[in-house]
Amino acid sequence: MIGVTVVIVFCLAPFYWMVVSSFRRTSDIFDKSALPSPWSLENYTAVFDPDQGFLRSMANSLVVAGTTTALALVIATLTAYAMARLDFPFKRLVLTGIIATSMFPVVSIVVPLLKLFTDWDWINTYQAMVAPSLSFALPLAVWILTAFFRQIPIELEQAAMIDGCTQGQAFRRIVLPLAAPGVFTTAIITFVAAWNEFLIALSMTNDAAMQTAPVAISKFTGASQFETPFGSQMAAGVLVTIPLVVLVVVFQRRIVDGLTAGAVK
């Protein structure tokens, strides 16, 4: 119980502070009162100032994160299914290798990547952001989904095939619905990671029209050169978080446990 409280407070406090600060006026942004006084929408108007290009960056983020998630799900689902069903030598080793690749620090590959993408003329394109995100998302996605597919008894597929399904139909009608919690979990994790990705997105774009939201926020300009626009950054932070919260709430309802209960025994 105490643990839960600690976790909640610890997780929510920064977010709370972000929301509160976003409603303060620029002049009292460093106030320490628990609630803003007076309340102000000044920061939100500033965020939507066309000069900042914030809406455009949100759209970019949506494209990058959405594409990454969709691709990652399709590729990872097929890979994980093969990993779970096929028996080949050193399977554990392969799986461990896959997960290990996702642990390299991003910083170490940014520069080579930048050079590569410059050669390919990929700077300021979506694929320059999607491809690296995908390569970071896939290992974890494969790992999670493999665990889910393993839980599904193979007899279920065999029963479906005897009931007249092709292998593809058995996969679509039996395996996939049962692996849905795994698929949604993976979708959330992948989307959040891709949505918040900063370093690659910053390095691969120099055109403001191609920036993703986190990059755009970091480049917000204040009223004068010496003023950092904390207020509008806070407001933008809140706006960026909203799609994630919506996503999690929508998908979480579908992440129910024990979907395979009652199948066998």
Binding site: P153, E155, L156, Q158, A159, A160, M161, I162, D163, G164, C165, T166, Q169, I174, P177, L178, G258, L259, T260, A261, G262, A263, V264, K265
Partner: protein, 359 residues
């Protein structure tokens, strides 16, 4: 409805040195209830899965009716299977589970509902049609698995130990229900079990397997009365047949110093084989008690097992060989007692000491 034919069908699992199913040759008639029985690991499930199309046939062929199905995928074989663990679709209701095959086959919704309702009535599943499998008891799940098979009206039913997850009482009850249902539907059925009582009570014919090889396929009575070899003799029947190695001459066999007359043909067969030894078999109920002077062999009683209607006495011959005898349950012998028995004439089984085959 169709015949099923295994033609020297063989399955070798990758990496295994000997076949899991070795040249299985078996012809199953239209509407017949055939039981595959044998000890664990003898290849029963593999044989069944070869017929289902879930396992490759490495050599030989399998026919259903006139069709060679050896290399057809399961969906093109028109079979239904009940798995040992039932394999119900957990995300579907009972009705959807039962109607799934029809849905895939493109049967109309009305027709589907009608056939599911019919099968549900047959299996007493009507109150549960809207439930998910996880909200059912083991016995109910078993019936859903059966229902899923019979809704199809397939050409062949395959069942792999469908009763092994039920408790003893339910198992006996369901056993009779399945047998009755099969007779009524008259659909050719291949049924796998390791329980020889199940095999003997349910099957029109019983095929006994060992180490991937078919030992004998015959009607239960025939299997019991004329086992084809030592393995079948010891496997079928409970308690098991007494098997003991004996010396044989023209007068018969010698068992613990007494003479047991044998059929002339059997004695001649042993002589032809050039040996003088053989394995003699006699069932516990083929022994009858005699007085100590009447030429029976003596048995020292170790344990008496009283089952109510019957009693079995487990004892030893003078030469140390184990013997089981069925005795009168009303006056069971006591432990440590010395009894005399003789084998009822004509109730002996003689097997070759070399090959184990019946003489």
């Amino acid at each position: 409805m169709a015949t099923v034919t295994y033609e020297k069908a063989t399955r070798v699992y990758p990496g295994a040195e000997r076949p899991a199913v070795d040249a299985l040759h078996l012809e199953i008639a239209c509407g017949e209830f055939l039981v595959l029985v044998g000890p664990s690991g003898c290849g029963k499930s593999t044989s069944l899965r070869m017929l289902a199309g879930l396992e490759d046939v490495d050599d030989g062929a399998i026919h259903i009716g006139d069709h060679d199905v050896t290399h057809l995928p399961p969906k093109d074989r028109d079979i239904a299977m009940v798995f040992q663990n039932y394999a119900l679709y957990p995300h579907m209701s009972v009705a959807d589970n039962m109607g799934f095959a029809l849905k895939i086959a493109g049967v109309s919704k009305e027709e589907r509902r009608r056939r599911v309702a019919e099968a549900a009535a047959l299996l007493d599943l009507e109150p549960y049609l809207d439930r998910k499998p996880k909200a059912l008891s083991g016995g109910q799940r078993q019936r859903v698995a059966m229902g899923r098979a019979i809704v199809r009206e397939p050409r062949v039913f395959l069942m792999d130990e469908p009763l092994s997850n039920l408790d003893a009482k339910l198992r006996v009850q369901t056993r009779t229900q399945i047998a009755a249902l099969q007779r009524r539907l008259a659909i050719t059925t291949v049924y796998v079990t390791h329980d020889q009582v199940e095999a003997m009570t349910m099957g029109d014919r019983v095929a006994v397997m060992k180490d991937g090889k078919l030992q004998q396929c015959a009607a239960p009575r025939e299997l019991y009365d004329r086992p084809a070899n030592v393995f079948v003799a010891g496997f079928i029947g409970s308690p098991a047949m007494n098997l003991t190695e004996v010396a044989v001459d023209e007068d018969g066999a010698r068992v613990a110093g007494t003479r047991v007359p044998l059929g002339r043909a059997a004695v001649r067969a042993i002589a032809a084989e050039g040996g003088s030894r053989a394995t003699l078999g006699f069932r516990p109920e083929s022994l009858e008690p005699v007085g100590s002077a009447d030429g029976g062999f003596a048995v020292l009683v170790d344990v008496v097992e009283e089952l109510g209607a019957d009693a079995f006495c487990y004892g030893r011959l003078e030469n140390g060989a184990d013997v089981i005898a069925k005795v009168d349950a009303r006056v069971p012998p006591r432990k440590g007692e010395r009894l005399h028995f003789r084998i009822r004439p004509g109730e002996t089984h003689l097997f070759s000491a070399k090959t184990g085959d019946r003489h």
